[in-house]
Every structure is written in C-alpha cells, then in structure tokens.
C-alpha cells in the first residue's frame, strides 16, 4: 500500500459544514451572540498590532471558527496581544477581546 508515484493526493480545502463539529462554535456564539453580527469589514485586521507584524488575521480566524474550522485557530489567536485597538474600531460594537479569549478558552486554554 501507499505506492509512491512522486506526488500525493491533495486534501480538500472545502469547509464542510456537514462534517465539521460545530459544538465549540455554538458555545462561542452562545457566550457572545454579537459575534454573529460581524460584517467582515476588516477594521479589526487592518488596525491589528499583531497583524502589523505577522500574517495574523483576526477576522478570518474567527469566521473560520464560526464555520467549525478550528485547525490552527488557537495558535493564530495566541499571536494576539489583546491591545484592544480592534474593539475601538469595530463598527458592529463586537467585544473583540472577549472573542479572542473565548476562542482561546474553547480551543485550548484555561
């Protein structure tokens, strides 16, 4: 088995909502329903202190988490310095720092 043909079969990039386990995502949304109101404007990411230094994209990561894509989300959230600039800019008034902490909590930390 596993003959080597000099390439490997690509894994799908699709977000499969059917097979993703949405339990943690639902927990996060239940704890902070306002997260659903994100309109993807990107203010948070544009202003992000960590995003200025790395590829960290808060908007994208929390959106993926909401879809049940948890892989790597915890590690990404650990790049955040919780400085709170994003919260000052969010046009939907989302408590972004709480989002970071919730995701860290549900996906690994404390």
């Amino acid at each position: 088995m596993a003959t080597n043909f000099g390439f490997s079969i690509s894994k799908p990039r699709v977000i499969d909502v059917d097979t993703n386990n949405l339990k943690k995502s639902n927990e996060i949304l239940a704890a902070l329903p306002e997260l659903q109101s994100c309109i993807g404007c990107g203010s948070c990411t544009a202003s992000c202190t960590a995003g200025n230094l790395t590829s960290y994209n808060f908007r994208k990561v929390h959106t993926l988490v909401r879809r049940g894509e948890y892989a790597g989300a915890y590690e990404e959230m650990n790049k955040c310095m919780l400085c709170g600039k994003c919260r000052l800019l969010c046009p939907r008034g989302i408590n972004t720092r709480r989002v970071v902490m919730l995701i860290k909590k549900c996906l690994g930390d404390f």
Partner: protein, 361 residues
C-alpha cells in the same frame, strides 16, 4: 428528478455525411471506441462518415497547457476545416471533447472577431495553400449517437438492465467540461443538466444516477495532470467525484470525453495504490465506459472488439450483470490473435488474479 428543462437546450445535429475528427486520447487509450463509432454509423445506421487520414491533432492539449499559441491553433483548426471541405463534407463531428471545445471556441471567436478568422485563413493559405471553409454543422460524436439513440434502441439486443434482478442498471454519466460549460447552448441540455448521455441511458433502459458532485471536473485539467507536482490535485478531483457517487452504488460510469474516461478509470487504480481506497461492489472498482462502448454493448458487440480490455478497472462484473457473452481467454489477444500483454495485478483489476488470462504465445 424532473429533467424536462434539457429541452430548452436543443441544437441541430446533421443527419448524414459527417467528416470525422479523431481524438488523440481516445484513439490511444480506447481505439476500439472510435472503430465502433464508425461501424455503428456506417453499418448499423447506414450513414456516410469520412475518416480522413490527413487530419491532425487539434493541438488542444498543447493550447490548454499554454504551449500552443492561439494563432497556431486557429491555423491548425482552419486546416481541419479545409480538409473537410476538400473531402466534400460540411458536417464536422469530432470524437474529442477538448477538440469540440476548441472548435466551438474558435468558431465563436471568428464570429465575434472576424479579423482573427481572416488572419487564420491567411496563415493557412500561406502555409498550405488551402482555403478555409467553415463547417455548416459542428457536433460532438456523442451528439450524433444521441441523435440516433432511438434508432439504436430499435436495434438494441442488450438493454442496460441487470439480467439477474431485472432492474435497470444504475449509470453515472459524466460530461466533459468543455462540452457545455464553455458554451451552454452548444451542448444538449445545457451545462447544468446536460442530457446527451442521460438521453442515451434512458433510451436504452438504464437509470441515470444524480449525485452531488455530478458537475465536478474529472481533474484532468491539462497543466494539473501534465506537471507531476500538480498531479495530486488532478487525482483529488476524481476522488471527490468517486467519493460522492459511491453511496449511490452505480453499476458503471459513462463519459463522453476521452480524457474523463481515462482519468476516472486510471485514477481509481492510483487512489487504490496510494491510499488503499477502492470503490464499487466488493471494492472491484466502478467500470468506466465510453458512450461508444455503451452503444456497442447495447448493440451486442463483443466487449474485446470494443477494446474494453484496455480499461484499468475490469469490466467483467458489469458484463456479467448485463448478461454479455464474452470469451475470457481472448481478452488480451489483439486483432491478429497476438498477445498484447496485460496489466499487473492490482486491486481494481481483480479479474486478473483468476488466472484465466494466462495466454501462451
């Protein structure tokens, strides 16, 4: 499924006098199919079809792989059309979906941008002294079979029915992307619900299986297959389709594109070898047929004459279901009775292990 909407997409298909354009992939991997097509048309249906030894590859693979420039391929296509005219035909039928896409694309380009047609005609004349005459009718060979599906049904001796259960065979149809996804109006049934193969299956007693990834590409993708590093992406596409159709337990897959037939067939072997996944009943793979092979079987042709021994996935389980009489000992014998060699044993060509095919030269 209520598929009546295919009727919105009708196209005119010439009734007789065809100029035949062969397919690079089909004639190499499924040579029996092209032969069967010519036979069905000439002998069964009594139509005039001309198989011109002068015509060449359309160079579509090169074009889609960014090797052949647009002007070059236009000149090549112009030459095919000139040959057709010289042979006295005006209905062009092509065996290859890539070619079909190329011809429709170029004809459409010439229509939208007449200066490109002028340029192609000029190049053709300067290079070969030939004169460009565009075909009156352009069709894919599957369109032609679709056109005659009822006549074929009348002559049918083996409908697409499981002889043991009496149930219709469950058939997955796969349409080549370039058949209707580029110009939906140029394909029977359009791009979303193409009817060209489904029509044949329904006319011949089978049941079409719709499944979620029906529209998905087989993964050939030209560049994606040709470059080894990208090949995993190519396989992944076939895998996605196979994974999606597997729960529907199809008896076989039928394609109108030679590339798709090849990849859906051969990638089953690759997936089995690389990941150990096999599809179909008992993990014997899902046989992949060309529509010519399907028509040939329906008309009672010998499977080995149809070239079905060239498949990666063994077709015997399907032949058994259909009640096709075949001689296992002649599977790997060529036209002149000479042993043509056989594939090494693999999960998807299980019939090989039986030892029936140990041919003495």
């Amino acid at each position: 499924m209520r598929r009546s909407n295919w009727e919105d997409y009708q196209k005119s298909i010439a009734d007789d006098h065809y100029y035949y354009g062969r397919s690079c992939i089909r004639q190499n991997f499924f040579p029996g199919s092209e032969k069967a097509f010519l036979e069905i048309l000439a002998k069964e249906l009594g139509r005039d079809i001309y198989d011109d030894p002068l015509h060449s590859s359309c160079t579509g693979i090169g074009y889609h792989s960014d090797i052949v420039p647009l002007d070059t391929i236009m000149a090549v296509v112009a030459r095919q059309f000139a040959l057709m005219d010289e042979a006295g035909y005006e209905n062009f039928v092509t065996s290859c979906i890539t070619s079909f896409g190329i011809y429709t694309e170029i004809l459409s380009t010439w229509e939208e941008f007449p200066e490109t047609e002028e340029r192609a005609a000029k190049t053709l004349y300067e290079a070969t002294g030939r004169k460009l005459v565009k075909p009156k009718n352009m069709a894919h060979t599957s369109d032609v079979i679709f056109h005659f599906r009822k006549q074929i049904a009348e002559k049918m001796c083996r409908p697409l029915i499981n002889v043991t259960t009496g149930e219709p065979l469950r058939v997955v149809e796969h349409i080549g992307c370039h058949y209707a996804k580029i110009f939906p109006k140029k394909g029977i049934g359009g791009s979303e619900f193409p009817y060209v193969l489904a029509g044949m299956i329904e006319s011949w007693g089978g049941e079409v299986v719709d499944y979620p990834e029906r529209r998905h590409c087989c993964g050939f993708g030209f560049r994606n297959y040709l470059v080894q590093a990208n090949r995993g992406y190519s396989v992944a596409n076939s895998q996605k389709k196979l994974d999606s159709m597997a729960p529907y337990r199809p008896d076989f897959i039928v394609c109108n594109c030679p590339g798709c037939s090849m990849f859906l067939d051969k990638w089953q072997y690759t997936i089995a070898e690389m990941e150990g996944t096999t599809y179909g009943e008992g993990g014997q793979g899902i046989p992949v047929l060309t529509y010519e092979e399907m028509a040939g079987l329906v008309l009672g042709y010998d499977p080995w004459q149809l070239g079905m021994q060239m498949h990666q996935v063994d077709v015997e389980p399907l032949l058994n279901k259909m009640g096709v009489q075949y001689d296992p000992t002649t599977k790997y014998l060529g036209k002149n009775g000479k042993y043509i060699g056989k594939p090494a044993a693999a999960a998807v060509n299980n019939c090989n292990d039986v030892g029936l095919y140990e041919i003495k030269v």
